[in-house]
Point group: C2
Chain length 470, copies 2
């Protein structure tokens, strides 16, 4: 698998200077927007150079060896190029062209022909019908159609979240979301029809990959259920999965997109619980939740302390926490007395109501008291951004969480636009809604429990049912 | 009630030129930011003029009659001022001061003293512990602390959504959200501890109010359940309610905020179904969903057609629609043939996959075919904003929906920031997530069913259970 992420020589088959040519967008990304320092060739009918990449009519004409071929041509000519790759000794091919099994029997036959050639020559194939690969470590990216702006914001910074995504459209959405978030991608793979490489292969690779801390997965179908679940059982990193096809209608629609067979959703759900996979409820959770893992220590218990200067959000927070299976921490009279001494606190029981304090000392005292208390496992802070000092206090809170090894899922009671603007400007891990912040605590706790089971504590299925997973 | 919204003379008791004085912010809003053309007086110890409002030491000193008093002083002196108002013949008072029943027995006693005076003199009281009243029709606003920027964006434009909100913090959030949305407020009331005027009173008023098309309600408790439900039963406008206290812990937290007694949530839930009230699942739904009522015709059936150019979102849409109780419309071979002829369509069954078309004619043909079909009750369009033409097409779609009297809940598959930016710039009714768009269709359909029951068709409780409400 490494050659898909760290190739030192690449050929883009189908890249030309024709208007709207998609292969050319890959050449531009690699040669113009990126600092990727491998060599890139183009193959097209006229042997034209494309965006500075030397052009050839055939793969065989290229001098020297090639680590990776990216094919983006009409479906009908793909198998011919796969043969050329085989003759050239290329062992890794990304086929981005569409028009295969997702389009019916004729496309399936073409896909099977390619499989035959690849198998005979020991070639690993990614795709067809996929967006390709991104590795932010070496800035290698063969996403067709990627714009310079997206490349600069998404592919130029190395983060720690890696994705396995069955649809190019979802990759685009994650790129967009990460523009304004504190987390960034490490590696992204769009696996398409997965005639060869599938979710299980990439999952195994990401589990061993040093740069990857969290794995996000979007699936429209599972190729080999057993293999995927077995691979997942060995993974110790948080895995967040969104799977389409919860209903008959959703499965049917997905099948026309990436050609998969419907999977029984209930079976999949149980398998996820067995394998320690967290199912997320929306695409936005797939990019919104990972920061609870990368910016915060894990949640190791259910008892959450809320602090806010909005009475309304104190009550709403309590509702959401309890409904999600977590608990409102009970603060002892001693802890309440300590809180009382920090300043002008409206309410020292949980939810703690800060009132309109603008004392940084009051804020940091509260952080210390709550995070050091053995009555509290984690925090749900909901401070209004009514004063610039509050954003500084949030920065302090992040440090304190690291010190005390307890997480805080921070939400400022704003409509999404303002929250996102603040997060982008001040680089603090804000969640976009209170519901998302509570969900983040849930998935953090759930992953902690999974890890306990995977590492030393066998937990029965009956026990798992008590785990919060809403 | 009219005097709370259309006073022609107002006194702000407690407005002074002291630093951080909250009463002064009301004088500034009315006299400086607003085009409100009533007369505004200030009452303070030094008889100072505040922001151009003539100042007096006592209410009795003010010449002429006064329609409305706004009191924002320390709790301990409020009753004295209420007496002055009574002597002056003022019949409408907004008490914004906090420190009453929400703070325990002593505060409750003060509140009861005020009630006694008010009752004896036939005075209607709003509050205490509230943010006050906004009417965008005459630009009257007595929200303490409102900033010029918020006033200009929120209170200067007249919309058709009116709110009954028990917490000032939630009003602030709605103000913020409406800055970037296509809908605007008509009237907003923050009712606080509601010692006199409560949700039932305001609901009756809003039902008769011509400018109000949709009523949004945020409650931490219900003062008189039976009266509220009876009032709601008579309302024919959509009512969206968020109520805190779904759990014991949430009720407890809310009680410390606005002093209400916990209500049984299940009883409330059933009462809402009886009275035709739609419960929303988050604060963001309270400001995000009303546009389905004001920008679109009602949904009169369950059969939804999805069209998108993202294969992934086709499948996700189908899942969400079916899970929420709606249905994927079945397109007949005839309809599919008509779609086939519009151009380069990838998939003519539902979800319709547009492919990368940039032909306005193709878009409008699809709108006409789907909206005119008796197989379709409403649309869930999920077009990518990859070309400027798409946003124009969305504008056309809004017009077509009006023509065919069927709604579309439009979502562009983007992360929230971009969606909100587009919506603000192009004034099109975009929902911020696919989940929210599906919810909008559900609440539109639910309101339609409630209206059928309220206007001519008695529906049994058993039937109501089949209605989508997720």
């Amino acid at each position: 698998m490494d050659m898909f992420f760290y190739p030192s020589s690449v050929v883009v088959i189908g890249a030309s200077n024709s208007p709207f040519n998609l292969g050319a967008t890959i050449c531009r990304a690699l040669n113009e927007y990126s600092t990727y320092n491998g060599v890139v060739y183009a193959v097209n009918r006229k042997a034209e150079d494309v965006a500075g990449c030397s052009g050839f009519v055939s793969v065989e004409d290229i001098p020297g060896s090639i680590d990776l071929a990216v094919i983006i041509t009409p479906a009908g000519v793909v198998s011919g190029f796969v043969r050329q790759c085989a003759d050239k000794g290329i062992k890794h091919i990304v086929i981005e062209s569409a028009g295969f099994s997702e389009e019916g029997p004729k496309g399936l036959a073409m896909q099977q022909e390619i499989d035959g050639i690849a198998n005979a020559h020991g070639i690993r194939v990614m795709g067809p019908n996929c967006l390709g690969v991104l590795n932010t470590k070496n800035r290698f990216c063969c996403f067709y159609g990627i714009q310079e702006e997206n490349f600069k914001t998404f592919a130029h910074e190395t983060g720690s979240i890696s994705y396995i995504i069955q649809s190019g459209g979802i990759v685009v959405m994650i790129m967009e979301a990460f523009k304004t978030d504190v987390v960034k991608a490490n590696k992204v793979v769009s696996i398409g029809n997965k005639s060869d490489i599938d979710e299980a292969d990439v999952l195994e690779y990401f589990n061993k990959d040093k740069g990857t801390e969290v794995i996000g997965i979007y699936l429209e179908n599972i190729k080999e259920g057993r293999r995927f679940i077995d691979a997942a059982k060995k993974v110790t990193k948080p895995m967040l999965v969104y799977k389409v096809g919860k209903t008959k209608e959703g499965s049917k629609a997905a099948a026309s997109h990436t050609a998969g067979l419907a999977n029984n959703d209930l079976v999949f759900d149980n398998a996820c619980k067995q394998a320690g996979i967290i199912r997320v409820n929306s695409i936005s959770e797939l990019y919104g939740l990972p920061k609870i893992f990368t910016c915060m220590p894990p949640l190791k218990g259910k008892r959450i302390a809320v602090f806010t200067n909005s009475g309304a959000f104190g009550g709403i927070s309590a509702d959401l926490l309890v409904q999600s299976g977590l608990e409102m921490a009970r603060l002892s009279p001693e802890t309440q007395q300590r809180l009382e001494k920090t300043g002008q606190i409206f309410n020292v029981s949980n939810p703690v109501d800060l009132g309109p304090t603008i004392s940084m000392q009051t804020f940091t005292d509260i952080f210390d008291i709550l995070l050091s208390s053995d009555e509290v496992d984690g925090l749900l802070p909901v401070p209004s951004l009514w004063h610039p000092m509050v954003i500084e206090a949030i920065g302090e809170l992040v440090k304190k969480c690291m010190k005390y090894k307890k997480p805080a899922a921070i939400y400022t009671p704003n409509a999404a636009f303002k929250t996102i603007s603040y997060r982008a400007e001040h680089k603090v891990p804000l969640f976009e809604s209170l519901e998302e912040a509570v969900r983040a605590l849930c998935v953090s706790y759930r992953h902690h429990l999974y890890m306990e089971r995977k590492t030393h504590m066998p937990v029965s299925d009956g026990d798992m049912k008590q785990y919060p997973d809403k």
